[in-house]
Amino acid sequence: MNFFEQIISPFIFIIKQIFLFSYELTGNYGVAIILLSFVVSLILLPIFILIEKSKKKDDVVKKKMKPLIDEIKRVYKGQERYYYLKTINRQHNYNSFKALIPILSLLIQIPFFIAAYQFLENFEGLKETSFLFIKDLSLPDGLFGDIHFLPILMTLVNLLTAYLYTRNGNTSERKQMLIVAGAFLILLFNLPSGLVLYWTMNNVFSFFRLFITNKEVFKANLFGSSNFNFDFKASYKKLKIIFIVILAPLLFSQLYWAFSHNFDDIIFRLLIAVLISIGLTLFIWLIINFYKHYKTTILEIKVKPSLFFSLLFLVVYFHLSSQFYYTGENATLSIISLLMLIPIQFIGCIYTIRAKSKSFAYKYTIIIYLVIVVYQLVSLISYINEDISISIFKINLLIESGSFSDILVPGIIFSLISSIYYLRHNGTQTNITARKNWLIFSLSILYIFGVIFFWHPLIVYSSFPANFEFPAYKFFSNNLIPFIISIFSSILLYKILSKKYRINMLQVFLWIVIIVLLYSSIIPFDVGTLQVNFFSKENNLAAETYKYLFEAILLIGIYIIVIRVLKRKYFKQITFVLIILNLFIISQSLYLSVKTGVFFSKGNDNIKAKEIQFSKNNENIVFFIIDGAQGWYMRDIFIENIKLNNLYDGFVWYPNTISTSNYTYASVPGMMCGSDFSIENMNKDEDKTITQKITNATAKFYKKIKDNGYYFTGNNLAYSNIDLEQIDNFLPKWENSWSKAMGLINRNEMWYSRLYENAIFSSSPLFLKPRIYNHNKWFEIGKNEEKGITSTDLLSKYSFITILPEISSSKSNNSNFIYIHSMFAHAPWDLITEDNKLISDVSPYENQKQFIEIFAKWITWMKENEVYDNTKIILVSDHGPSWWHYNKKIEDHNMPLVWSKDRKVSFVEFLRLNPLLMVKDFNSKGKVKEDWRIMSNIDTYSITFDENDPTKNNPSSRTVYTYYTKWHTDLKTRKKYQNYFAFQIKDNVYDINNWKKFTTPNDAMSYMSKNSSISIYDGTKVDLDFIENQRSSIILRIKKNYTWFDNIKEKAEKRGISLDSMLVLSANYVIETSELGYIKERAILIHSIKNNKEWLNNTINDAESRGISLDTMIMKNVNYILYAREE
């Protein structure tokens, strides 16, 4: 427990108690959350009243001081201003320190909120619990698809509170509240609805708190003046016209329809038409009245330029980020843009109306507005309703389903037009003219284009010079011309602009400078390494929405800072900073290039080290792990492709092979080092972690190879922490030069421009990045065309096998040991085509067949280079395929499996334990042979090093072992593998009758958990009775809670089980996820120890050797097991 948790824990306790009590009281988690929120608000109420009191006192003083302070701030600066402000404080007895004391008590509420968050976030009870319209309290409500209702409701409540709270002036506070409300809308948008419900209710209560602390805000009329004019008679004539205008087409359309179809419901239809007309008329009348009444108020709305242009920017920003989105148009971003568009269009409208001109352009504008709004409305309707077809007098109009762009783009045009009127009203910004502008401008473009064309490329180049076949100066001279063109065109543009707009251009360029600086060197955005034409982790470009929100705010913030800095005429400072920036980036990149010495000579590319070396004279051993390959498939593969029989000259296939385990990290140590590193033996060592054990195995394996005088070439020493530096020749996952060798990439010229394209890419904000680069394409919108293998992961998985002949050499004089661990056959299974395209989601068989075919090419290379005969090849898999990743039918290929009566393993479990083993010994010749002697993949050690080689020593009968272990993610701290089961198998692995369960003490726990329906007796009975009682009380509680009960009923129906058993299951779930689960498990474990003779004896021995009682020892063991599982 760290310091923070220590402080928070009592609050969590309080929150927990309130919540659980509320739940006891109501039996409904949703209501409990609301109650919790209420109680917390109630507890904090007195504090709030106190704070509000002291704040009001403060406000009075502040209000008095404000005009004085404003006056001083207008007139004086610096030290003088400070002295005057100090005197004003003094004369009003206002001490800013004193003001802090009552407010400090406010801090007490923070822990409540953190506690509620932490408690509710981790509370399991909310899972799959529905409440009102919320389907699952542990997930966002998703009431409108991507858009969640609760956060919006919360924001509305907050806005109302903010409006009321600050309506008596205090605009600075209003700003704060608006910012906070916005921030929390973003922060909470995707959080579990249970949490959001809590916060929403909190806000609702804080709204009601206003009744207590700030009654005065309700006294004034909510909408300003109250004499709303509902004079119906006055507007009767107009209404009649509106009514007729609406009614006529409606009636006409109904009649028209009736004439062309039938007159069945004609009276009803006409009645509906009349009713709708009345409704619409009333609605229009209301709007007109409302508008009339508030006309002056609405028309007087003033919007600051910063807000107007920020909104406009946001609309464009989110529209573009949606359009450019990595995976295609992004609806969420479009909706955000749409939300921003509504106010900006409204404001634009107001400013246009206010402009009231008789000019032709003005009238024209109004017409354009009308057209745009109608178009938007139609698009909106068609977006919701898909296609709309209208037929007027037999002319059919079809409006195709609209997209967001259809609403947004006209809206943006609308806003741009209205911004002219806005600017006309607000006047243009102050002109800042300074002689130093030119210097700032020059330094800015020098920085921007310098970074893009020279400095950023040079840094990229210097960081991995081995990838380039040309010295750095080459792209330097190549980029010189675009650099000069960019500089001159910018200067030209600046020159031809009038002075008024020059300052705007300067602002924009300074803005870009900051963006380039931020994105190219401060904000990290990981798209992986640049592989000439693609990025290794380009999927990161599909960023979450909140990142865009933050970025938009960031960009606006930067622009505002730029404006302010320029307005205050900090020209000297700006110039200074720009000079520093330029100097810094130039010196940094030059330093790197000098350090790596790449400017005039090409970087040191150690190609040789990336070769696989074979010797013609000495022995070579290829130890090839094909991860997850199925053993049994080899028969069909060799039948299907007869040619392979000849190609795999001298190979023996061992179909009767069991895998020592079902996971790579459990099998590979044994495969490398034999039975010393079997799971059972590894589990005996209780000091080392599994990672340490795997590392030891690798080290031992490597030492053995070196002791035998081999030169080692290898790759992918999975899960091992061995120092790769000390290994003779370690192959990387993938190499750029290999891409070149495969003809995937080649042109140097492409690199020249790619480097600056990459610089633009990395200097750009997130929303532009996918516009610059998307799926292999630079500077075009990426359409998701057929996808070649691009990512390093896929290349290393598939193309690595293809490249083997290209990177092998037969010139070595040493004996060579080649260790390769390929993931080719590992899930997910794909095929690669000749032109390096990917066919996804094929069967494991198809995939494995392709592997065997491609591998044959390497065999052919070995033969051609006369290294085949003197090479021993072991082709082995560490386990069978993970069939649960395959969503089609499992293929058995006539597997000769014999099931026992008690199905000890499932089919999938068996397939997982059925590995591939093929061996070609030195000088072995002839077609592929089948050998049905029993093998384990742990035998590869003996086969490799020829120590008790079971393929040679010909044992008539043998027992092998297999361990089905759990999936562990904590290898770095875990010390033992946990097994579901272990078997010893005699002679034939395909006959399950030959499988005999094999139990070691530490496996008992998992054994027990598989067979937990054991009756309990003696000391543990109390615990179990307790559980039984709990279970029935939970069931009772479920029955009382209708929502919960309905939920369970539904689930029972879905699963097709009885309601009672579903109730028991649900109760068990509650017990297991609560603390009761421990009691139950403990009871079961104690029971199993006492009932297992062997285990009991072991425990008695342990107890005696430690001098403690048997019961204590049992408890120790039980706790240990529970603890281990907790891990």
């Binding site: 904090l44 406010l106 509170t161 509240m177 409300a181 922060l187 959080l191 916060w199 804080s206 909140y546």
Partner: protein
């Protein structure tokens, strides 16, 4: 899922933000004070031993040599009564430093920053100064001084003083009733301590009157126009700059003396040097930078001014015609006037003093001046002086008496 550590609902957040902002602002405010203190310490070159005037009860502090005529009559009156006092100045060219008397100790205490450090440590019963804004700006009250007095050095109203000019003095030696009125109003508004408001008068008038008598009668010459603007933003110089003098000099029937306010050289050095540069070879144009304007005023036949206090001197002492720039006193922000809601004394009385001109007359200023010299208006100036200035010609004596009374009070 994004992990948030903190959540607070907007109402409480705004309260919290309020705390954070308050803490930050308070810290910034405090740090700023600290910064200025350190800055002052550095520029003040450390602390100075202030035991120089251990046994002296009365100390005067002068900001610059131009204020010596204010203190001199008081010092002389005290001297007559054999009472010892000290004179501190921040100006090494202060003529007070050369005044020899067994009853007066003088000291130059360095620039303003050093002064503030020095004065903070001062020991005395009475400190009199012409510098306003005690305890507001850099000059702070010393704990070891019982009484601080501001000695008014112009007949003007309190409106044009910068903010909080008198608030932390114990007494103000006022020149006329309008000052007493203004200060009382300010005290009322700000609820600051009541000050002792003394009917003193203008001590430098004593000196000037003596000077005028001593000065030789000027010979008959071409008429002379004395331009004596104030230094503030609304002055003739600031509003019209060179143009004014260009127009004024169009008529060669008179000569011109420009007597800028000393502060002009501090606040607008560029502007004044521009003017000086332009007319350095013009024989009809002279810039007067003497501490006392008596000689120039004596020579002059007409004064052109704006809101400077100097025209009152010209009027009270010499009774010669005056031409004033029309000044709407709107730009009073940041000055004491913004806290006062009645017409200031200068404005009330201006029309009684002389002719007014405004921007539109700028082009014809030469004509207006010529006319005025040729046909001066007759005015009741004696009456106005009696109403506006206490103790004309004997303010020094009065001040000395008042100081002694204050000390007597302290000693009680």
């Amino acid at each position: 899922m994004t992990k948030i550590l903190l959540y607070i609902d907007p109402a409480s957040t705004s309260a919290l933000l309020y705390i954070i902002i308050a803490i930050a602002a308070t810290l910034a405010f405090a740090l700023r004070g600290f910064f200025y203190r350190i800055k002052n310490l550095i520029f003040g070159k450390g602390f100075i031993n202030t035991n120089d005037f251990n046994n002296i009860d009365i100390i005067f502090y002068s900001e610059g040599k131009q204020y010596w005529p204010v203190f001199y009559p008081i010092i002389k009156a005290l001297e007559k009564k054999n009472i010892e006092c000290a004179y501190l100045t921040s100006d090494d060219k202060d003529p007070g430093l050369d005044y020899k008397s067994e009853f007066l100790s003088t000291k130059f205490i360095g620039n303003l920053t050093m002064t503030s450090v020095y004065l903070k440590k001062l020991k005395a019963k009475f400190v009199g100064m012409t510098t306003p804004q005690l305890d507001v700006m850099m000059i702070q009250r010393s704990k070891h001084v019982q009484h601080y007095a501001h000695i008014v050095h112009a007949p003007i109203d309190v409106f044009t003083y910068r903010k909080f000019a008198f608030d932390y003095f114990d007494s103000v030696f006022c020149s006329g009733p309008h000052q007493i009125e203004g200060i009382k109003k300010l005290e009322e508004k700000r609820k600051t301590d009541k000050k002792l408001l003394l009917e003193t008068g203008l001590t430098y008038y004593d000196v000037m009157l003596e000077d005028i008598v001593k000065l030789p009668k000027p010979e008959k010459h071409k008429p002379i126009v004395l331009v004596a603007p104030t230094w503030k933003e609304y002055s003739i110089i600031n509003r019209f700059g060179l143009k004014f003098f260009e127009n004024l000099l169009k008529d060669d029937s008179y000569d011109v003396i420009l007597r800028p306010h000393p502060q002009t050289y501090v606040s607008f050095p560029k502007l004044i040097s521009e003017i000086e540069e332009k007319y350095k070879d013009e024989p009809r144009f002279v810039v007067d930078r003497e501490p006392l304007g008596t000689a120039s005023m004596l020579k002059a036949d007409l004064m052109i001014s704006d809101l400077s206090g100097v025209f009152w001197d010209f009027m009270f002492l010499y009774s010669k015609p005056i031409l004033l720039l029309k000044t709407d006193f709107e730009s009073i922000e940041g000055f004491e006037g913004s806290d006062l809601d009645y017409e200031m004394w200068e404005m009330r009385e201006r029309s009684k003093v002389g002719n007014i001109f405004d921007e539109n007359d700028l082009k014809n200023i030469n004509k207006i001046v010529k006319d005025l010299i040729e046909t001066p208006l007759l005015m009741q100036l004696e009456e106005l002086r009696k109403q506006s200035v206490f103790n004309f010609g004997r303010a020094g004596e009065t001040a000395a008496k008042q100081i002694l009374e204050i000390i007597e009070d302290i000693d009680k």
